[in-house]
C-alpha cells in the first residue's frame, strides 16, 4: 500500500507539468488597426511584432476580423510591426506607442499623417498636372 501511495505521489509531480495555468488581469493595451485603402479590414492576415533591434518577434499571429493587432507595450515606446497577406499587401512599419495609445486610442494603419484621402488624391493630380504644365511652358519657350 505504501508503495502505491509513493508511486502516485511521484507520478503526480510530472503530471502537473502538463497543465497550463491561466490568469486574468488588466493592462493598458495598444490597438493597431490595419485596413485596405477602400476601408475593408486587413482581416485574418499574418503579423509579427518586434521590439527595436530584436530579431525575435515578441508576438506573432493573425489580425482579428476587424484587422486589429492588440498588444501590451510594457512601457516601451518604439515597436516594429510587420503584417502581410499572401498577395503582397501589408506594412513593415515602426510604431510609436505614446501615452494616448496606452490610454486606449486607436492608431490607424491607413493613409499616413491622417490627411483625408480626397485631399491626397487632389494633391497628387495637382502635382501631375503642375509638372506637365511646366513641361508645356518649357516647350513653348523653346519653340519661340
Amino acid at each position: 500500500m505504501r508503495a502505491v501511495v509513493l508511486a502516485l505521489a511521484l507520478l503526480a509531480a510530472p503530471a502537473a507539468a502538463h497543465e497550463v495555468g491561466l490568469s486574468q488581469g488588466g493592462a493598458p493595451a495598444t490597438v493597431l488597426t490595419l485596413r485596405y485603402a477602400d476601408g475593408q479590414p486587413f482581416a485574418y492576415e499574418a503579423f509579427e511584432l518586434y521590439r527595436p533591434g530584436s530579431e525575435l518577434p515578441l508576438q506573432v499571429g493573425r489580425t482579428d476580423a476587424q484587422g486589429r493587432v492588440v498588444f501590451v507595450a510594457d512601457g516601451r515606446p518604439v515597436w516594429r510591426l510587420k503584417a502581410y497577406s499572401a498577395d503582397g499587401h501589408g506594412v513593415d512599419r515602426e510604431i510609436r506607442v505614446d501615452s494616448a495609445a496606452l490610454a486606449g486610442a486607436v492608431q490607424d494603419g491607413a493613409d499616413s499623417a491622417g490627411v483625408p484621402r480626397g485631399w491626397l488624391l487632389a494633391g497628387g493630380l495637382g502635382v501631375i498636372f503642375g509638372l506637365f504644365g511646366l513641361l508645356q511652358l518649357f516647350i513653348g519657350r523653346k519653340g519661340k
Binding site: G88, D111, S112, L120, G124, I128
Partner: protein, 214 residues
C-alpha cells in the same frame, strides 16, 4: 500589386534600381524626342487617369481589394517608353502620398508594372491587331496585367530563398512562390477584365481624337 517597403531584400531592390535607372534614361530620351505641345496635355490627362485609377480600390472575393492600372492604355496610346516614364511617376506619387507601394520597391514595381506591362501590351497589340483593333487592345490589356502580376508574385515569392537568417527564417517577405503566385494572380484575373474593358473604352476615344502615336 504594388510591393511595399520592407518586403524586398537589398539583393533584389538594389540591382532593380540600377536596371530601372538605365530604363528611365532610355525612356527619357524617348520623351525628349517626341515632346511637342500636343503630346504634353494628352500625356498629362492619361497619367492623371492612371494615378486616379490606382486609388479606386475595388473589393474582391477573399477579403482583399484591387484596382485597375491604366498602363496598357498609356502604352497603346504613347508607346512603351512614355508609358514606363509616366507610370513610374504615378507609382512614386502613390508611394509618397498614400504608402501604396514602397520607395525601396519603387524600381521593382516600375519595371514589373510600367515597363513589362507596357511592353507586353504593345507587343500583343501589334501581334493581334489583324484580328480586330478592339479585340487586340482588350487582350493586350488583360495579358499585360497578368504578366506584371506574375512577375510581382515571383519577386515576392523568391524573397525567402534570397535572404534568410542563419536559422533559415526569412528576413523579408516570408511566403514562397507556391503561395504568392496564385494569391496574386487569381484576383488579377478579375481585375484584368475591368482593365481590358476600360482600356478599350478610352483607347477608342483616343484613336477617334487622333491621339495614338507611332
Amino acid at each position: 500589386m504594388h510591393i511595399p517597403d520592407g518586403f524586398l531584400s537589398p539583393q533584389t531592390y538594389l540591382p532593380a534600381w540600377g536596371l530601372a535607372a538605365g530604363a528611365w534614361a532610355w525612356a527619357g530620351r524617348g520623351l525628349a524626342a517626341r515632346l511637342d505641345e500636343r503630346l504634353v496635355p494628352r500625356l498629362a490627362m492619361l497619367t492623371g487617369l492612371a494615378y486616379a485609377l490606382g486609388l479606386v480600390m475595388l473589393p474582391l472575393p477573399g477579403g482583399t481589394s484591387g484596382h485597375a492600372l491604366g498602363v496598357a492604355l498609356l502604352a497603346l496610346v504613347f508607346g512603351v517608353r512614355l508609358a514606363f516614364l509616366a507610370y513610374s511617376g504615378v507609382l512614386g506619387l502613390q508611394a509618397l502620398l498614400f504608402g501604396a507601394g514602397g520607395i525601396t520597391a519603387l524600381a521593382v514595381n516600375a519595371l514589373a508594372i510600367g515597363l513589362l506591362g507596357g511592353a507586353v501590351a504593345v507587343g500583343l497589340y501589334r501581334l493581334l491587331r489583324r484580328f480586330g483593333e478592339d479585340l487586340a487592345a482588350a487582350v493586350a490589356a488583360f495579358v499585360s496585367l497578368q504578366a506584371s502580376a506574375l512577375v510581382v508574385a515571383l519577386v515576392l515569392g523568391l524573397q525567402p530563398s534570397i535572404a534568410r537568417r542563419a536559422d533559415g527564417t526569412p528576413l523579408f517577405f516570408p511566403l514562397g512562390p507556391e503561395i504568392t503566385v496564385p494569391a496574386v494572380l487569381l484576383p488579377h484575373l478579375l481585375i484584368g477584365v475591368g482593365e481590358a474593358a476600360l482600356t478599350v473604352l478610352v483607347w477608342r476615344i483616343a484613336r477617334r481624337k487622333g491621339w495614338v502615336g507611332p
